[in-house]
Amino acid sequence: MNWLTNFVRPKIRALVRRKEVPDKLWIKCSDCGQMLHHKAVAEANFVCPECDHHMRLGARDRFKGLFDDGVFAELAVPAVPADPLKFRDSKRYVDRLKDTRAKTGQDDAVVVGRGRMGGHAAVVACQTFEFLGGSMGMAAGEAVIAAARAAIEDDAALIVVTAAGGARMQEGILSLMQMPRTTIAVQMAREAGLPYIVVLTDPTTGGVTASYAMLGDITIAEPGALIGFAGPRVIESTIREQLPDGFQRAEYLLEHGMIDMVVHRHELRETLVRIVGLLRNRDTRMSEVPDIEAADPEPVLPEPEIVEDDAVAVEAIPVESDVEAPDPEDDTVVEVTATDEGEAVDPPEAEPDDIEVPVAVEPVSGDETEVEVEPEAVVDEETPPVDPELEIPEPVAEDGAPKRPDA
């Protein structure tokens, strides 16, 4: 570590830091077509207030809705060789990667957060569809492996939120090898006796479904999510017949016994907390189980990995502080076209308005070592959540589930 990385770099970064352009004031629901105020949608965890459609969202937005008080530490994922195949189609893969990184503010499709959920230690690996179709390449594989290792270290529940067209074609066979590699990650977590819970979101297909996404101890899907091995287009062109109604949707999979439950995003956190609690409190009588909020009176955030080496750019940022800078003059509508270039093995159908929420909350630069971390103080002190608006909406369950260990 030298003065350059230590001092100059962060400053420069602060200078060149992309301004969060308020071009996301309005978004259009891809299902009902309703124009919606971005902030309202974000507060609703990107569920359309009009039609209940579950929109796609980035990893960091997802984490805020899952972790206690939206507080998490992002895990540093080991770097992988860039473009080992020197792949080029109409565009060079390295350029595609660079563009996507700039657009999403993520290094790759899978981001790993560690923190607490209902007081329980949890590591969540979350896939972002907006990043080259969420495709699983070497970086995603390493992220899942790193997540499993972190879960073992923290004795935490391992949760994976999937969203991907499949394996990343541009990494060829090396992306296919992530199927056995991520499977090993799941096995490691299992051997350590940790619950491994999968949340399937729209869409999850191809090599991702055919590896870690279908190996959960418990498998949850979001309503309406497209889930399958082969994408509908591939199947249609193979069998040349009309696909059944609701084919490959979450509810269809539930009907066919392929998943445990379909859970509304507003109830997802509560459901996960309940499941982890039930699975992990086996030595305690239910009546003795303290309620979730007090389950661990002194939750300690796992040491953020990033401080261990020369990772200097530990930014303490209040969650979503600068995302919403509503500029009344700018009411640009987000029109994002489906970027299906990254879709891999079996791409899901690409609706023209496929991706409705391209939110890169924190403009993280391409630097791998840079990780955002919540100030630890937030956890120990009685400080209220950084952004109270980010509290996930109360679950609609009649019995106030967060307090029901006796369910």
Binding site: I145, A167, G172, G207, T209, A213, A230
Partner: protein, 320 residues
């Protein structure tokens, strides 16, 4: 009647000429100059074959890997496995003819052998669904792999599939889950798993059987995350660009050895496995037998750890 691939046309012409000359000779008086001519043409044909197969492009290899006369699972089993006892069914839904397996002896040693069968003729191809297994096929594989584990039998998998079957019923019965669990079973067991890609290694449908301690590959076989046609239609938006996609995907045995995804290449006879099936089959048998020997005396834990470390190292070690 030999069937030729498009790029083999010059070879085909020579060989047809040789045939014609032979026929001429057959009716006639055994003229010496015909014999000489035949020999000349034969050595020319051989040289051409050697040259052509010495520098096959990835797309040409794709065609060789799919050659209808290339030895398939059943051919290997017939030639290599004594006392082969096929085992059927997944105990839940059906017996998938695209995935065949059973116990038998390879060079005197009891093994579990399984793999996809593509079928040799039209009827066979339909029966075996062109080597595209359904969930019940993968669940049969899981059952057999775990059975082998219980009795300490090495597992041999011969991979030859364009991919797992993409269809409504396959999806309904959990194709993805079956593949994931099959990969998991390969990685779980305490017996050595030796996989050989003998034809097409098509994506997840292949990796479900090829997550082994040793992964061998026939010289002209291919192994890829997606078949070139599929890749071309997605990335180039035209299946016509399959040739370019095949180049880009680096799906040949040579490339995969460089990337350290496979452990060894099994050389094929000149002109491909379909030209001398017996030699190709016995080369595969010998390579598999030697690979099993490597694990003699190892404990279940050692074997499991070996496999795990091997896969975890892929992409981390030895890449530029």
């Amino acid at each position: 009647m030999r069937s030729y691939l498009e790029f083999e046309r010059p070879i085909a012409e020579l060989e047809n000429k040789i045939l014609e000359l032979r026929q001429l000779d057959g009716d006639g008086d055994g003229q010496v100059d015909i014999e000489e001519e035949v020999q000349r043409l034969q050595s020319k044909a051989h040289q051409l074959l050697n040259e052509t197969y010495g520098e096959l492009s990835p797309w040409q290899k794709t065609q060789v890997a799919r050659h209808p006369h290339r030895p398939h699972f059943t051919d290997y089993v017939e030639a290599l496995i004594e006392a082969f006892t096929p085992l059927a069914g997944d105990r839940a839904f059906a017996d998938d003819k695209a995935m065949i397996g059973g116990i038998g002896r390879l060079k005197g040693r009891s093994v579990m052998i399984l793999g996809q069968e593509k079928g040799a003729d039209t009827e066979g191809r339909v029966k075996h669904n062109f080597g595209m297994a359904r969930p019940e096929g993968y669940r049969k594989a899981i059952r057999l792999i775990r059975l082998a584990d219980r009795f300490g039998l090495p597992v041999v998998t011969l991979v030859d599939t364009p991919g797992a079957y993409p269809g409504v019923s396959a999806e309904e019965r959990g194709q993805a889950e079956a593949i994931a669990r099959s990969t998991e079973a390969c990685l779980d067991v305490g017996v050595p798993i030796i996989s050989c890609i003998v034809g097409e290694g098509g994506s997840g449908g292949a990796v479900a059987l090829a997550s082994g301690n040793k992964v061998l590959m026939l010289e002209h076989a291919i192994y890829s995350v997606i078949m070139p046609e599929g890749c071309a239609s997605i990335l180039w938006r035209s299946a016509e660009k399959a040739q370019e996609a095949a180049d880009a995907l680096k799906l040949t045995a040579g490339h995969l050895l460089e990337l350290k995804v496979i452990d060894a290449i099994v050389p094929e006879p000149v002109g491909g496995a379909h030209r001398d099936r017996d030699r190709a089959i016995s080369a595969v048998g010998a390579a598999i037998d030697a690979a099993i020997d490597d694990f003699a005396g190892q404990t279940a834990d050692e074997i499991r750890r070996h496999r795990r470390d091997k896969f975890l190292e892929i992409g981390r070690v030895g890449l530029a």
